[in-house]
Amino acid sequence: MEVRSSVFASWILIFQVLGAVLFLRGFFPEHVNSSPFKSNLTDLPAEPLPGGCLNSSYIPQPLFKKVIIMLIDAMRADFVFGASGQLNMPYTTHLMLSPSTLSFVAKARTPTVTAPRLKALTTGNIPVYIDVLMNLNSPAVLDDNLIWQANTAGKKIIFYGDCTWLHLFPDQFMEYDGIDGPVSDFREVDNNVTRHLDSTLKRDDWDILILHYLGIDHIGHSFGPHSYFLQTKLSEMDDVLKKIHSALNSKEAGKSFPYLLVLCGDHGMSNTGSHGGSSEGEINTPLLLISPVFKRKAPMKKPDEIDQVDLSPTLALSLGLPISQSSVGCVIPGVFEGASLRDQLRYLQLNGHQLSCLLKEKFPDYRKDTKLEEYHLAEKAHGRWMKLYLERNTSEALAYIGKKVMKQYLEALSTMSSALRIQLNKDDLYSMIFGLVLVLQPLLALILAMPEALSGSVAVDLVTSALFSLPFYLLCLLLASTHVLVCTSADVSCYFCSVSWSFVFGIIAFISASTCFLLSLMTRKLPLGAKLNGTSLLKQISSRKWSKLDILLLAGTASHILSLGSVSFIEEEHQIWYFLLTTLYFIVFQDVCAKYFRKENGPIEEDEYELLYKEHPKEEIYAEKWLALATPVFLLVCCRLLRSLNQTGVQWAHLPDLATWLNSAEHKVVLSLLSTFCLVLIYFLVQRWCSLVSKVALALGLLSIYCYRAAVGSLFPWQHCCLNKSKGILEARFVYVLVFSILFMGTKNMIQSQINIANAKSKNRGLWEIYSGLVLLFSLLFRAHNLLVLCCCLLIQTLMAQFIWKKLHYDAVQITIIHYWLGQAFYYFQGNSNSISTIDISIWSIGFDTYAEVPAIILTALNTYAGPLLWACHLVCFLSSKKNSFLLHSSSVAVGHGCYFWALLRSMTAAAYIVVATGMRHHPWTWSVFYPKLLYEAMHLLIITGASLIFNAVE
């Protein structure tokens, strides 16, 4: 059965995506719900007392009657403790100096996104990585948590703010107002929280008040951490804090009323205003505990560093609640300094008991463990101290011994808690192996079928007879029996065993079929190879004339794949692409020079030159020559400019870049002018291939994109207050309509060309129209300063097509690899990186006023992979245009080659990466580097598969 190579490639990609998904399920440890039991006051351990009896289950009085938690989303530690804190938050700074305030830097864990962080704050344990995907769709927390405990103890909780809380803790709040606004809005979301404050603070019927402010997070996503809005927002937060604090203080004046005011952040903000990764700015959050109970003696110094999970046990104990069962945090010692020594020791004992229970549960062979030993020793010492205490021994010695016991407890606590914090990655090797096979086999098929697919016929012969052969059935049987054996064996819990049997059997059948196919391919190739001998293959390779470009393309691709093995090269992957791209341009420059300066070289070329002279007037040739010579230079400058537009990566991400400069408030005019210029240029670069109707649609679309940006507030006619209530939703929707209409026209043209085959020109035009629809969509989704990236992308495409690819007679494979490289480079030019934090999740609010999951995911994915998608689309359009008579083969053959090679490059990278990740799954950096990169690779594979499917369907 003959299959066209582009169809073959997209089938291969589908199976690879399946394999990648299976692998990911195996790779990411699934969250094991530790146990459905929740801590209870009655299970608390007795106070250690040798032979004692009285009041052994003594629980200290709650330290605080009322707790107010003011959680500010994306609050970075240096917003409070740094220079900007002193400037914008004067009241908070003043509070920090008073002895009734304890200030800390609370370290958040990756992934630094809201839902996992809220879980960490309330349950006190560390959520698994895959929770990052659940950030947008958060199911209720089933684990034991602070909110549940407080509720069970009859505390009344009021919540105002981000509605993630309501998803996480349904029916737990006495009174609530969940807020969920578009990311572009940062005034309403906070006003909706603050407006409840006055009335609530006057009332007395609540115990815990939780406020979750979203404004700073929204500003960060839209404008970055250096924007003017952020400063005003910080002073607004300062005012809120002042309001709460003074209200509480005035209340307290009347009666004894110990309160606790907590100011914290769930995660920080990177230097680009995003979060999700593990840079300094993202993991450092401020934590201020303010209460008249505190009497800090030591003068204010640099805030101590604690872990974010420490807050949960501290709050639980100080409210007289049991610590939630899965908590791995240890109490913050400073909080309890006001309590009596007996109470302090009791608190520490309770915390230690809870941690030791958790340790016993997680490591059943704990008896051999020395970690618990320390705690037991401390408990014994505690018992001795209690005895002394109950004997009314009020000497200095008592206090001294108490202090010593406390120290012992604290050490034991920190040992146990750090042992618990080490994540145990129980990886599911069985699913991983199946996924790996499913990824590697198609890649092997792609490589083996390459000579066939890259020949003139562009078709791959699928040997269907292999399906009915004996080896196929034998393999199926073997794999199925292995599967049954593995899954029925006792203690294995793996994902692949839990999926339905028909699916498993389908995968087994596919694996056996493709093994047979590979075998038949190899047997067909091998005799040929044996006849020609190994040396002849080498000779064939060496006889091919390898130009410098070929060598670079080969070596560059190989070195990129090799670089995936190094953590820092993954972090700084963009550097590799930029470097290779610059080298590529230099080689192209050299090729161009060779073409135009080789007059004196050979007689044949001279003839060609003269022929050219006859055809065109001399000036035209001259102009063309200089334009062609200037092209690579221009492209080099262009890439250098784009490189400094968005700093990405890890090591140098903090350096100031052009984007920061453009987005700062004082350069609004420059940004407006620049984006106007870019939009006009985009119009002129794209409109050439379109029909009249599409041209009009395109112009209108670009115009309304400007209006949208202006309405959102990032461009010049800039509404300072909320004059424009629509927030640009109308404009954005209008653009969506135009995009769809252009895409529709393109598809219509392509279908028309299918009906009457003679009309091949309309097919090409259809392709270009689809391309311009995509460009319009991306110019809506890109941030204002990134319009420059889009504009440069189009400019490079036009120039390369005009002066390089057509003039220098590159073949389809070379053009494909260059496109792939440029696609990768533009992915990074746009500001993306291999860390989760650079994904722009504010995209969903473009044109939508409420969060809709499906469009949000699609738009975010499209925006993130805009670079590779645009270049892939351009490749197809360019190769299929009829004008390219320079190509060796007809355009359909060229398109086939292009698609096949693109698929090969993509699947090669993904497969190589998956192999690397398997090998390094116990590497300490896995969490911050390998996981996100793996997700990115899988997503990229999925996107390219989707694009190739759509392309094949339309064809």
């Binding site: 190094s566 470097f579 070289n601 890439c639």
Partner: protein, 219 residues
Amino acid sequence: MWDHEIRAMVSTHAIIAASIVVATVVPAALVPDFSIYGTHLVWLYSVSGAVVAVSVAIFWLLGISPPTRKHSLGYKLSRLFRSCLYFFLSCLFFHTVVVLYGAPLIDSALETFSLAVLLSSLTTVRCLCVLGPNVQAWIRVFSRHGAMSVWDTCLQIMVALTVLGAWMGAFPIPLDWEKPWQVWPISCSLGAMLGYLSGLVVAPMWIHYNRKQLTYKCK
């Protein structure tokens, strides 16, 4: 066939290599706290100076540079002036190339320019010595099949290896090993130096083993 010339080349290269070693060792005695990493720029300029001086002297003595038609002092002076100009222009050119490759534009401009000076003195000076300040000849030598003598082939190999060495030297920069040689521009200049040194060895050998295949057009 060209045994005489190859022998001359080997001895030239030996002298140049020795001068590089001397230029590395001597400042250690003169400059306090001298080290290749710590006082990199001192090392860089001393090596560049040594290479320039030795190359100019040797090639002048050997008389390889193309014969000048006129022997007037004015002509010689103008050649000298043009050579200096070309050297400076090539420094600027290399500086631009390095910036295009992603070196910071304003910060550490001195380091970038020093690298450009090193690259120029390793490549351009040799071009100037062998071919003279003659752009046409340069273009001829660096286009395909343009070599017209053993020295031209040698020049091609040396320049290619030096540039390749500097290019490869950029790869370790993003690694987070925090080694002293990862500081800009140490890895690149060391790479260029290593490329140049290997060129000194490789070029005569390559010419020696391929002397059958090498045919040169007459001038």
